[in-house]
């Protein structure tokens, strides 16, 4: 295999890994503060991407054609809208079920994801067909031998990694991050220290959902296509990534995201069978990893009390 092809796969893997890590970060944040899995995450992401798409349609309609302004508008609407939706879900569906068994929360969010997916399919104009997402980023590319480095993927990866870095800063260096970490560590104590618990939870869900919407927009810009089912598979992959990395740990989510992307690339490029089996391979490795490390590569600390 020549070097150019390897570089192509590598670039692709890094882009996918960034996207998956952005989704996985949300799962791990939610798990941190509330010990719940919000399975509708992927579909909220899809909804966010559709909000962005609608914003683009709106901007086109009022005659703003500069791609950078359009991009800013799309990102602003999408991230803000999704953050609001995320907080609303936390407030009305997840917090009321806080005392219920974990399975119930998992199920209610799974069902919410289905409801969002179906609602977009049925009620968005022509929602059951894929939509052509606009290419808002410059389409220049640099040829290095047989390898074409696309400018848009570089921008996407850099901004994605930048967002992860920013999130890391927020969690580790700000007062809000301190509050989130405190709630994650011990809710009761955090409350007695005067932390507004509900507000912190809502903020966490808003941040996680916004970050996921960014991943959705990334997905749209890169593949130039969005559809109502994109959230399901991205959510599944993000969940798997967060789990194999180890829940409740930001670095675990990032590790898991890149690991899953790596598995997909290996499945597509190196294995002897058809590349269509890449997801089969990746999920099989996930199952095997779960057998080996039942609580993820960077396990959360837990103990059983009777």
């Amino acid at each position: 295999m020549d070097l150019g092809l390897i570089a192509q796969y590598l670039a692709n893997g890094i882009l996918l890994g960034t996207m998956y890590a952005l989704v996985a970060v949300g799962f791990t944040l939610f798990f941190g503060v509330l010990d719940v899995i919000k399975f509708s995450h992927g579909d909220v992401l899809m909804l966010g991407t559709f909000i962005g798409f609608t914003a683009w349609l709106g901007l086109e309609a009022i005659g703003i054609v500069n791609p950078w302004i359009q991009l800013a508008g799309v990102l602003l609407c999408s991230l803000a809208g999704t953050a609001l939706i995320g907080a609303a879900i936390a407030n009305w569906l997840i917090l009321p079920l806080k005392k219920a068994p974990q399975l119930n929360t998992l199920l209610i969010t799974l069902m919410l994801g289905t409801a969002i997916r179906e609602a977009v399919r049925l009620f968005y104009p022509n929602g059951s067909n894929p939509k052509a997402f606009p290419a808002l980023l410059p389409d220049a590319s640099v040829e290095i031998g047989s390898f074409a480095l696309r400018a848009d993927s570089v921008i996407l990866v850099v901004s994605g990694l930048g967002l992860i870095g920013l999130l890391n800063l927020v969690i580790n260096r700000t007062r809000l991050g301190l509050a989130i970490r405190a709630v994650a560590q011990d809710e009761e104590t955090a409350r007695t220290m005067g932390i507004n618990y509900t507000l912190v939870v809502l903020a966490t869900f808003a941040i996680g959902s916004g970050v996921a919407a960014f991943a959705g927009i990334m997905n749209g810009l890169y593949y130039n296509e969005i559809n109502f089912g994109m959230g399901l598979i991205l959510g599944l992959i993000g969940f798997s990534a967060a789990i194999i990395g180890g829940l409740g740990n930001l670095y675990g989510a990032i590790l898991g995201g890149f690991l899953f992307a790596g598995l997909q690339v290996i499945g597509a490029a190196l294995l002897p069978f058809a590349s269509a089996y890449k997801d089969v391979f990746a999920f099989a490795v996930v199952i095997a990893l779960m057998a080996w490390k039942p609580t993820g590569l960077i396990p959360e600390r837990s103990s059983d009390r009777v």
Binding site: M111, L122, I287, A291
Partner: protein
């Protein structure tokens, strides 16, 4: 002239109210299946909702449940007889029989899932995958003339169990969310595998040969004089038999020490282990047994609809199975039967809802989880002294 008041159950026939409910349910099913106009279906639905509401308010539901517990065998037999009667009465109508058989097979599948979810607390979000494994087994083995078709049903269960074997280690070692991801990943993996695998028909799917029993091809309609009888009668009767068999097995399992172990594992793994229950063995048994049942029902389902494709065994379908279990109430077989009927019949009878069925059920399950988390007919705590009246 005596001042010793006998318990009510010894005065009159205690099962009469429950028997009336069974007969009413049979009549209601007949009416619902025969109703063709939307307004008829809608008024029947309103009737059901109102009747259920009244029954709950007046305490009738609790009374029926109590009587049912007191003379269970007799009432279960009556329910089976009413079911067979319903099938025979509707023997001329293809569609109604197809509906009955589908409800019955989903009910059987929900019993399998209930052993995992309801008894052992083992999450399985790949129900449709194991169901599909059974159906694909039926498709592949159905072409081999030498294999007796009844064995194919069994083979469907065994194959479904066999493909779940690699999941045992992760299932046993993980808990909670980590276990959920294992089955979810498996469900996606299975579906993707079917779609890209050319031998199994790829996305187009496979034809399934019909069931044959003792040289009798189920595709032939039985003839009885000049009565017009649909060939689905065969499947409906077989599905009823299968449902009865699995139901009996399910109830026996629940009452046995195995069921007790499963309950203990669900309620508290650590405490169960302290009492010497092997958590691993219990989980493995529940997982494999549940998958066998899913596979068997899937195999018969495949034969009945005679054409299967990966699109019928997606993650959404797994969720549909889970919602049956949850709507009915965890571990409650009759609740599962009612929920299966709701989930299958409602979208079919209200054609305008067909398109919206996943949306509708997801919202329905969300409402149930928020406002009645225990399901339609919640399973009660084990009662080892069924004749002792605690709520006089």
């Amino acid at each position: 002239m005596t001042d010793i008041s006998l318990p009510q159950s010894q005065l009159s026939r205690p099962w009469i109210s429950a028997a009336a409910v069974i007969v009413a349910a049979g009549l209601y099913s007949w009416a619902l299946l025969m109703a063709e106009e939307t307004w008829q279906v809608l008024s029947l639905l309103v009737l059901a909702v109102v009747a259920t509401g009244v029954a709950i308010k007046t305490g009738f539901v609790r009374r029926v449940e109590r009587d049912w517990a007191a003379s269970e065998t007799r009432l279960n037999r009556l329910a089976f007889a009413v079911l067979i009667g319903l099938i025979l009465v509707l023997s001329g109508s293809h569609f109604a029989l197809l509906m009955i058989s589908t409800v019955l097979l989903y009910f059987v599948a929900s019993l399998g899932l209930n052993i995992q979810f309801g008894f052992t607390g083992l999450v399985n979000f790949a129900g449709a995958a194991f169901f599909g494994a059974g159906a694909y087994t039926a498709a592949v083995l159905g072409n081999v003339a030498e294999i007796p078709p009844l064995l194919i049903l069994l083979a469907g269960g065994i194959v479904a169990m066999a493909i779940s074997l690699p999941l045992l280690i992760p299932i046993v070692r993980t808990t909670g969310h980590y276990a959920a991801v294992v089955t979810i990943a498996f469900g996606v993996l299975f579906r993707t595998f079917l779609e890209v695998n050319e031998i199994l028909g790829g996305p187009q799917g496979l034809m399934v040969n019909s069931m044959k029993l003792f040289g009798w091809d189920f595709f032939n309609a039985p003839s009885l004089g000049n009565l017009e009888i649909s060939f689905y009668v065969n499947y409906a009767l077989l599905a009823a038999g299968l449902a009865a068999l699995v139901f009996v097995l399910f109830r026996r399992l629940e009452r046995s020490w195995i069921g007790l172990h499963m309950d203990a594992v669900r309620l508290d793994e650590t405490a169960a282990a302290c009492f010497g229950i092997s958590v691993k063995r219990t989980k493995i048994l529940a997982f494999l047994l549940g998958n066998v049942i899913l596979g068997v029902s899937g195999a018969l389902y495949g034969m009945m609809i005679s054409f299967i494709a990966p699109a019928s065994f997606t993650f959404s379908d797994s969720l549909l199975l889970v919602s049956i279990v949850l709507l009915g109430g965890l571990g409650s077989p009759w609740g599962g039967a009612i929920a299966a009927a709701i989930v299958v019949l409602l979208p079919e009878k209200l054609q305008l809802l067909q398109e919206y069925r996943f949306l509708l059920f997801s919202i329905l399950v969300m409402l149930v989880l928020l406002f009645r988390p225990e399901g339609i007919l919640p399973r009660h705590l084990r009662n080892f002294f069924p004749n002792r009246r605690t709520d006089a």
